[in-house]
């Protein structure tokens, strides 16, 4: 049996996560025993797992971990695809924040509190946020402040405030700061008017000022025992909840959010034909995991999701992803995961030793990749040769449904309008030969009246 530690779990002395023979386990250290037993015995675990807010687990033989310090070993239900806060759209981050606060509220009713409020501890399963860190809980010491308050503000309040008040793209700052956006940075970036919002003033501006002022105070939550009433605790959670709820952002007006509603490059028949072709390929391949690359608002992602495949729907436009996310929530779609993702600059491996957060390809190779109306943006818009595109796509998926868009297409002409045409190799022949190094072309279907073609390819 081989045992391999997972990502950033080394941080938690309560118990690391490891993988053995493809199965995910977590150690529970003896030092964490009272907290683990309290979680399991006082009804909190049942309450949170029943409401879909905490990942369920099974206890297995502790010998599998092979350590003297191991009290229990648990096998948590595996989340089919891991995503990171800097890949979530505004609505997803907001829902994750509210889920964390709800978990804290429920935990308090059981005399337990969250010791961590890292956004990385939340994942999306069946379209809903849930906590995946079973060892985030500790028995609450009456009269102490919330140990995870600063982390919650850095991981959730700061990015939401910046996305809502300044620019939605500032959510990407979470990629630079693995333990959340520093509050003094958020405070400096926020506009002066944000000080008139009680929640933002309190949880970011004043909080940042206090953190700077008392940075050398060496005070822990236990030092403050007896100086923080349960009503104050409730006040904080209620205030954080109303602050998070007050942040709004409306997706509209970007190039991509209106792409299909303003489409002039497809006739209705061609779009319908494309839908039929993609659906037929999906039916044939019957995938479990699909990556839709450049998914826009997820029209084609939904063809895969409706067929039961977990479909990770990637697009670089936060407005398009937000629209897709909102549709997913309103229709209660279970198999979709819309993420903000720039294929020309994919999420890097970050954290200690570049190993705490994974690249996309290391989070799971998809059975099918879908790349529709995308190739020209990467090949012409970003100067990536076909062979390099094929090499990266091969890392991401085993089968590929990809659309070739010819140079005389109106959308390609838009891309070429502002640059010199140095793309002599951009034609269908070179496209095929570039991809044939990595995939076997199984089928080509012309989309009537568009000059475009949809290919079905398979990795050899």
């Amino acid at each position: 049996m081989t045992k391999a530690g997972i990502g950033g779990s080394f941080r938690d002395p309560s118990g690391t996560v490891f993988e053995s023979d493809g199965v995910l386990y977590r150690e529970v250290a003896h030092s964490y025993r009272p907290h683990y037993d309290a979680l399991l015995s006082n009804g909190l675990y049942e309450s949170l797992t029943a409401s879909g807010l905490l990942v369920p687990h099974e206890e297995v033989d502790p010998d599998i971990a092979g350590g003297a310090n191991v009290y229990r070993v648990i096998r948590p239900e595996r989340i089919p695809f891991i995503s990171y806060p800097y890949e979530w759209c505004f609505g997803a981050l907001k829902d994750a924040a509210l889920a964390m606060l709800r978990i804290q509220s429920i935990a308090m009713e059981h005399g337990i509190s969250l010791k961590d409020a890292s956004a990385f501890n939340i994942q999306f399963r069946d379209g809903k946020p849930l906590l995946i860190d079973t060892l985030s809980f500790e028995i609450y010491e009456e009269g102490t402040p919330w140990a995870a308050y600063r982390q919650f503000c850095q991981h959730f309040v700061a990015p939401l405030a910046l996305m809502s008040n300044v620019d939605v793209r500032l959510g990407l700052l979470s990629k630079l700061y693995i333990d959340g956006i520093p509050l003094e940075l958020a405070s400096a970036l926020l506009p002066g008017r944000s000080r008139f919002s009680i929640g933002t003033k309190l949880h970011i501006h004043s909080h940042a000022k206090s953190s700077q002022k008392h940075a050398g105070a060496r005070v822990s939550v236990r030092d403050m025992k007896g100086r923080f009433s349960s009503r104050a605790f409730r006040g904080f959670i209620e205030s954080l909840t109303s602050t998070v709820k007050s942040y709004q952002w409306q997706p509209s007006g970007t190039t991509w959010a209106d792409y299909y509603s303003e489409a002039d490059h497809y006739s209705r028949e061609a779009l319908e034909q494309k839908r039929r072709v993609v659906a037929a390929h999906l039916d044939e391949l019957n995938p479990s995991l699909v990556l839709d690359l450049g998914a826009n608002t997820g029209i084609f992602s939904r063809l895969a999701a409706e067929r039961g495949a977990l479909t990770v729907s990637l697009d670089l436009d936060p407005a398009a992803v937000e629209l897709s996310y909102r549709e997913m929530v309103s229709k209660d779609e279970a198999n979709l995961l819309p993420l903000v993702f720039d294929l020309t600059n994919p999420s890097p491996p970050i954290g200690w030793s570049n190993a705490e957060r994974d690249t996309l390809d290391r989070r799971g190779v998809a059975d099918v990749g879908i790349a529709l109306a995308l190739i020209h943006h990467l090949a012409i818009g970003n100067n990536v040769p076909f062979a390099l595109l094929a090499a990266y796509f091969r890392k991401l998926c085993k089968n590929l449904i990809i659309e070739f868009v010819p140079k005389d297409d109106s959308k390609v002409q838009v891309l070429l309008a502002s640059r010199e045409d140095v793309f002599a190799d951009y034609d269908e022949k070179f496209f095929e030969s570039g991809f044939e190094n990595y995939f076997e072309i199984r089928q080509r279907t012309e989309l009537a009246g568009t000059g475009r073609s949809v290919y079905l390819m398979r990795a050899p």
């Binding site: 503000c153 509050l183 004043s206 206090s210 002022k213 008392h214 105070a217 006040g235």
Partner: protein, 70 residues
Amino acid sequence: MKTRFGFICWALYLAVLMSMLWVPAANAYLDPGSGSVIFQVVVGGALALSVGLKIFWHRIVRFFSRKDDH
């Protein structure tokens, strides 16, 4: 009624801001956690009061809305 409650919140908010002025400074070093703990204790009283007032306010509203029903 919501406006009045909002006014109370604003008054509390100003009180919290004023209280921040009297927080003693410590020598700054790299430990942002302490500031968060102290901040919670400083602001906690005002937020506890707001929760108390909210409960009290809801009771008053419920009392009068019951009377209105009769």
